[in-house]
């Protein structure tokens, strides 16, 4: 009361009030701080451990199982045209659900718990928060997927040595780094959808629908007049794009080589721009 200030029309720039000065040094914050914060957040909740644990379990388990089955049942020459790497596909397809879930939870769970308000008060630059989340999540998802898929690929290749042909270095790159980038981008897209939808269950449903629906719909397109749509749905469905990295696509006309990566990169970039615009405009 004794320090009551007469009303000042405008305080000094930076809000240096004539009242209280904190002894803690003031540091200008940047993206690095937000990244450190998001890293603390992502490593300190159990859902991260659970989803990533299940992911590794699915990728490694199914990969080893497929490798063991093929090496036991097929005789030499049976699969000579194929590469052993392609057996990693099944585990990653199922595992991608975990990455999608984790991606959605990274943003949507903050809205579900109300944590987002605390975060946005601590850091009013909303874009910085979103970018930090994207960077941290993408790095985590990429590293984990790369480790899991590389381990599975090496094991399968050594298990099936002699049964299948030895993969080229290009195939190695696509079957590990390429596919890991694709899965991590798929997770990043989920994170963006989570930020737009702000509801975990809704966003997970949308993403799983986006992964599976085109394939399921195409399965039931019997009419020949829909043949073109059916082929497009098949070829551009996410499971098929994923299999392109193992060079065993469902069709010949669809994406090939590194195309799926450019496609999802474009989609994610567009979605990111949309999410950014919405985040700036909407109330938290």
């Amino acid at each position: 009361m004794s320090t009551h200030q007469p009303p000042l029309p405008q305080a000094a720039p930076g809000g240096s009030y004539p009242g209280y000065i904190s002894p803690i040094p003031v540091v200008r914050t940047h993206l690095g701080h937000a990244i450190a914060s998001e890293w603390t957040k992502i490593r300190s909740v159990r859902s991260t451990m659970w989803t990533l644990g299940v992911f590794v379990l699915l990728v490694v388990g199914i990969g080893l199982l497929a490798g063991a089955l093929v090496s036991n049942s097929s005789s030499s020459g049976d699969l000579s045209g194929a590469s052993a790497l392609s057996l990693g596909f099944f585990g990653l397809l199922l595992g991608s659900m975990c990455i999608i879930t984790l991606g959605v939870l990274t943003t949507a769970s903050e809205y579900g718990t109300g944590m987002i308000r605390t975060t946005m008060v601590a850091c009013p630059s909303r874009a910085r928060v979103l970018v930090a989340k994207a960077i941290v999540f993408f790095s985590v998802a990429f590293v984990i997927t790369l480790a899991a898929s590389a381990f599975v690929a090496m094991t399968q290749v050594s298990m099936l040595d002699g049964v299948t042909r030895t993969p080229t270095s290009g195939e190695w790159l696509k079957g590990t780094v390429g596919v890991s980038l694709y899965i991590a981008l798929l997770g990043l897209l989920s994170l963006i959808i989570g930020s737009v939808i702000r509801h975990s269950a809704g966003a997970v449903t949308i993403m799983i629908g986006a992964v599976l629906a085109p394939l399921v719909i195409a399965l039931f397109m019997f009419s020949s007049s829909l043949e073109k749509v059916r082929t497009a749905l098949f070829e551009y469905s996410i499971p098929n794009q994923l299999s392109v990295f193992y060079s065993n696509s469902l069709g010949d006309s669809g994406p090939s080589g590194w195309d799926p990566l450019w496609i999802i990169l474009g989609v994610t970039a567009v979605a990111f721009a949309g999410a950014y615009a919405l985040l700036e405009k909407r109330d938290v």
């Binding site: 009361m1 809000g15 914050t29 009013p124 405009k281």
Partner: protein, 415 residues
């Protein structure tokens, strides 16, 4: 300093906050009061840049919150206690916030000790009680050692020790020269904590003044008079005698009379003249709580009423008296006497003792008196609005016909 100018927020056709202008100054605890749904939290969110105002602006130290450099080091806020991820431990929650604002990590343990959560710092906040959640939220607000602090309902769920602690914390923060803005719907709490009050109802400013001004402007003395229970006719007799003399009489539930507009000696004289014995004649001052209730009763959005249990009750046997309602229930006008100078300059003069010759006694019993005959009015909403919510000088407050807010035209409203 927080400064709001013409702050307005609409959600669809619902106006949450309308044309709110106020200033919160450093060095004092400023209480922010209003009934549920009156727009307190919306205003807080707009101050913190979470919600964009539909019109108007609010600045902290001259900057809108989202343009504030190092916002977390200048402003700390407790919004709602459970705005945390329940799966994260208290320490990790605060650590992530500290990292986000470039605050040294050791500050986390410091604030955990300040709020008394050091023993559960490693526990997931999901298992925290409401009071522990509040403490965690306060810890987050204190983390950046900011000059401006906002607390939304900080004492919710706290134990008496915690309430006392928060009260002293606010005062000491303000004494250090910080700006402390505390919202609450508990007038009694604010009376003890705040130096200055900003009262809103239905998103509009009702009062912006110091607590002492608020008390002197809004509380009114009354006398409680009790006649012998054994002779009800004496009560009637005294009642009419007092009314004739210009006093205003409100029967209380236990048979006593609440008299305003007459000084105590005059009541005694009148009783003597009417040959009525008195069992009690005592002076009372309406509490701040009652003053607040009266001020905001026209602006209450969610009003409780008596549970009628219509059709569920057995018919009373003939001659049986229906049970007396608990005082105050469903009778909004019961609470408080009208302000001392009705219709005059609200909040202008010094404490005007009721019954002082200044106020003609009739002034209290003017036709709009909120409790002309409380028992007789079956519908509490049907009575005329009490004293038009006294506002500060500038905006014509709730009672004025304001064009925009849709909710002011709600049919259940007395206006």
């Amino acid at each position: 300093m927080i400064e709001a100018v013409g702050l307005t927020k609409r959600y669809g056709d619902k106006t949450a906050v309308y044309d709110l202008s106020f200033r919160v100054r450093p060095g004092a605890v400023t209480g922010f009061l209003g009934p549920n749904g009156s727009g307190k939290s919306t205003t807080m969110r707009m101050i913190l840049g979470l919600d964009n105002p539909t019109a108007g602006a609010v600045t902290i130290g001259g900057y809108p919150y989202r343009k504030l450099p190092n916002a977390a080091r200048q402003v700390g806020a407790l919004l709602d206690a459970k705005a945390v991820h329940g799966g994260r431990s208290a320490r990790n929650h605060l650590l992530s916030l500290a990292q986000l604002s470039a605050i040294p990590a050791r500050r986390v343990d410091e604030v955990l000790r300040v709020v008394g959560l050091q023993d559960v710092a490693g526990k997931r906040s999901k298992g925290f009680s409401l009071g522990m959640g509040q403490r965690l939220g306060i810890a987050a607000a204190l983390l950046g050692d900011p000059q401006v602090l906002l607390f939304d309902e900080p004492v919710n769920g706290l134990d008496p020790e915690g309430i006392l602690w928060v009260r002293n914390l606010m005062k000491s923060l303000a004494a250090e020269g910080r700006t402390v803005f505390v919202s609450s719907h508990l007038m009694s709490e604010m009376a003890l904590t705040a130096d200055h009050l900003i009262v809103i109802g239905r998103g509009q400013l009702l009062a912006d003044m110091s607590v002492t001004d608020f008390i002197s402007a809004n509380s009114a003395d009354f006398a409680r008079v009790r006649t012998p229970d054994t002779e009800p006719q004496l009560r009637e007799k005294l009642s009419s005698a007092l009314t004739e003399a210009g006093g205003h009489v409100l029967p209380e539930q236990d048979g006593a009379l609440r008299v305003t507009g007459l000084p105590l000696p005059r009541i005694s004289d009148l009783a003597h003249e009417a040959d009525v014995r008195l069992w009690e004649l005592s002076p009372h001052q309406a509490s701040l709580e009652e003053a607040y209730m009266r001020m905001t009763q026209g602006a209450v959005d969610y009003r409780s009423s008596i549970d009628q249990k219509a059709g569920l009750q057995q018919l009373l046997p003939p001659g049986a008296q229906p049970p007396m309602p608990v005082p105050g229930q469903g009778q909004p006008g019961w609470y408080a006497p009208p302000p001392p100078q009705q219709g005059g300059q609200p909040f202008a003069g010094p404490y005007g003792a009721p019954g002082a010759p200044v106020a003609p006694p009739g002034g209290f019993g003017s036709p709009q008196g909120p409790y002309g005959a409380p028992q007789a009015a079956p519908n509490p909403y049907a009575q005329p609005a009490p004293a038009p919510a006294p506002g500060p000088a500038q905006p014509a407050p709730a009672a004025a016909p304001v064009p925009a807010p849709a909710d002011l035209t709600k049919p259940e409203d007395a206006r």
